[in-house]
């Protein structure tokens, strides 16, 4: 039997023994399998680790090379406008009217107070408006937080810091500051301690101011506003008046350059003034404005071709209607032409003219001029006009000379602006109009009527009731108005509202200027008169001469032939149709 005997044939060898591998051993069965498995695991682990390193490496390159600074906590302050939680308000030239300043508020932690009595004494030494007793009571309490004073000035904060008392802390707060004080009280209004607008633009534009960073540019001009306010104050002082108001408007854009209501208040401390001072006479006050309304009556009659510049009415006798008598203050007691009715401010003539046009057309015309409904304006303080409930002929007549209808000076401004600027009615606005975007207007009367009204307004200043409104070189045209104030059911002849509504330069109207003085008292210098021509017109005259150079209006020679011709009104001579019945 030839049998292949394996090497190492040992019968005593344990069955399971096998010689250890030396070099690549012949492998088979389970051993080979487990080795292969570990090999695979090693490769997978290695690959995973390699991948992880690759990812880290890639991220490193990305972070270092491409996204430097991304995700950083620290960043540079953005350049550009200074930010605050509420936007500034500036005038049309950028002068600051309202701003927000950091105002730290002082609080204390009484638990950290070492010597409350000494601390209270020292604190009152630098903040004298605090009461030492109250401060001590707060500091000695067992609370851990007490307010001591809200909204300190930077100087006060420095003084408190200099005391070096532990336990006093500051909380950053903001305070609204109105550096122009009273001058813009009724335009800008004010915001409360929580920075919420309470009046004026601050209230009307509360949301806008909160949401923006750029300052809000108003149409008002700081200098013009100061001039108007100054002149109204002068007139009020001279005539011992209870109040006054004024408005200056650009008749070709509707921008309000100045808006003054007196008495006024300091928006930095509105609580210090009587509540009545918050009342805005220009937008919230409605007044029977008197003869200024004859501008509209005459424009209406001329525009409807009911009469003409050469037509006229008999004003020789007062009109008796119902229980009223309509008579003239500057009675001429004769037939008056339309220009004469206007320049002598004849109530009788204006009443007849209005009646001639008729109630319906009058209502329609006044409505077109925006005098019968509340105007749309940026201030929240807006009043709707007071109108007669039934428009009877008597109402037509009295409204013809400005009684029995109450409108705000703001409405008068827009309406007169439209009458003189060629018949375009602009919306009154307190916001500066962008230069490249002309304001939209509606045509409310013909350009021809507008030219005729300019001539009539000039006539009033040249020869009529408004002579004192003349400002040499600036061609003021305008109309006086004196209205008795309504008291109870009748009129009080002693308490007047005297106004002058002026436009200059009248040959090419640019600005409307109106001053109203409430309850003026005539004095020796005015021979006891307290009418618009004596009380308000001089203020308009000075306002115009002071502001003209600021708004870029060049003086002209009134007596130059071109200007004379352009504003010529033919008045019937004394031998004319005197007393001819109409």
């Amino acid at each position: 039997m030839s049998k292949t005997v394996p090497r190492d044939e040992n019968p005593c060898r344990p069955r399971h023994f096998r010689p250890g591998p030396c070099g690549p051993a012949p492998q088979e069965g389970p051993a080979k399998h487990s080795l292969e498995m570990s090999h695979t695991r090693l490769i997978i682990t290695g690959a995973l680790l390699g991948l992880a390193f690759l990812v880290i490496g890639a991220r490193l390159v990305e972070v270092a090379g491409f996204k430097a600074g991304d995700g950083r906590q620290v960043r540079a302050v953005p350049v550009g406008r200074i930010e605050a939680s509420r936007a500034d308000i500036v005038d049309r030239n950028g002068a600051l009217l309202a701003t927000t300043l950091a105002a730290p508020s002082l609080y204390a932690n009484p638990k950290q107070m070492l010597d409350p009595r000494d601390a209270a004494h020292k604190l009152v030494g630098v903040l004298p408006d605090l009461s030492e007793g109250e401060v001590y009571a707060k500091l000695a309490s067992d609370k851990s937080f007490v307010w001591l004073k809200r909204q300190l000035t930077p100087r006060q904060m420095a003084a408190v810091n200099r005391l070096g008392i532990p336990g006093f802390e500051f909380q950053d707060e903001e305070k609204r500051i109105y550096p122009q004080g009273n001058a813009f009280a009724h335009v800008v209004g004010f915001a409360g301690i929580d920075n919420k607008g309470q009046a004026g633009i601050e209230r009307g534009f509360d949301d806008v101011l909160r949401g923006r960073k750029q300052p809000l540019e108003l149409a008002v001009d700081l200098r013009v506003q100061a001039i108007l306010r100054d002149e109204i104050v002068k007139q009020m002082t001279q005539f011992r008046a209870a109040g006054g108001s004024g408005i200056i408007m650009n008749v070709n854009t509707g921008e309000v350059l100045a808006l003054v209501s007196l008495p006024d208040f300091d928006p930095n401390d509105p609580g210090a003034s009587p509540a009545g001072n918050l009342f805005n006479r220009v937008t919230l006050g409605t007044y029977e404005i008197g003869s200024v309304f004859k501008i509209f009556t005459t424009a209406m009659a001329l525009d409807a071709h009911v009469t003409s510049m050469t037509g006229g009415y008999d004003a020789s006798h007062p009109i008796q209607i119902d229980r009223f008598t309509i008579h003239d203050d500057h009675a001429q007691n004769r037939w008056l032409s339309v220009p004469e009715i206007f320049m002598y401010s004849s109530n009788i003539g204006a009443a007849k003219m209005a009646l001639d046009v008729g109630g319906d057309r009058q209502r329609e015309f006044l409505g077109r001029l925006g005098l019968l409904k509340a105007p749309s304006f940026e201030l929240p303080e807006i009043a709707a006009p007071l109108l007669p409930s039934v428009w009877r002929p008597i109402n037509t007549m009295t409204i013809g000379f400005g009684h029995g209808i109450s409108v705000s000076p703001l409405q008068i401004a827009s309406a007169v602006g439209a009458v003189v600027n060629g018949g375009r009615l602009y919306r009154a606005t307190l916001l500066k109009s962008p230069k490249d975007q002309p304001a939209t207007a509606t045509q409310v009367l013909s350009a021809g009527t507008s030219v005729e009204l300019r001539k009539l307004l000039r006539l009033v200043v040249e020869k009529g009731t408004g002579k004192m409104a003349e400002a040499p070189g600036y061609l003021v045209g305008g109309k006086t108005g004196t209205a008795e104030k309504v008291s109870g059911k009748g009129y009080n002849t002693k308490s007047l509202i005297s106004s002058f509504a002026g436009v200059f330069p009248i040959n090419d109207p640019r600005f409307f200027v109106m001053i109203s003085i409430d309850e003026p008292h005539g004095d020796k210098a005015s021979f006891g008169y307290a009418t618009g021509g004596w009380v308000a017109a001089p203020g308009v005259s000075r306002t115009v001469s002071r502001m003209a150079s600021l708004v870029g209006i060049q003086p002209v020679d009134e007596n130059s032939p071109e200007i004379r011709r352009s504003l010529l009104v033919t008045l019937p001579g004394p031998a004319g149709r005197k007393l001819a019945s109409n």
């Binding site: 620290v74 300043l101 950091a102 930077p154 001058a183 400002a471 003086p555």
Partner: protein
């Protein structure tokens, strides 16, 4: 144990990179501190600008300027008569040279010229 050259190179490289890494990190921290400081300075500066703007507006109140004018200058309002067109102003005869030769020489000593002056400068210096 034999250190193979490759291992030495790698080791040195790791040390160098680590050092550089910390160096950069500290530098960044320092820069960040500077940035925070500068940011605060800018914010403070802006706050001051706001305060100064408000103060400027307060100090240039037309009513205040008017008061100061009345007290120190006494200037009046501009009237229409003071303003005119350039062509309206008559031209002076001759060229500037002619003007000079025609002009009467001023021989008044400066000290004798009466009128308001902005400031008086003292020539004597006292120690």
């Amino acid at each position: 144990m034999i250190l193979r050259p490759a291992i030495i190179v790698w080791f040195l490289l790791v040390v160098a990179v680590g050092y550089a890494m910390f160096q950069v990190k500290y530098e960044v921290m320092q820069q960040e501190e500077t940035l925070v400081r500068l940011n605060k300075q800018i914010a403070d500066g802006r706050d001051q600008i706001r305060v100064l703007d408000a103060e400027w507006s307060y100090l240039t109140q037309p009513s205040r300027l008017d008061r100061l004018n009345t007290r120190f200058l006494g200037l009046g309002a501009i009237t229409g008569a003071q303003i005119t067109d350039l062509p309206v102003i008559p031209e002076r005869a001759g060229t500037p040279a002619a003007l000079v030769s025609n002009a009467t020489p001023v021989s008044v000593p400066t000290a004798q010229i009466a009128g308001p002056r902005l400031a008086t400068v003292s020539t004597r210096i006292t120690p």
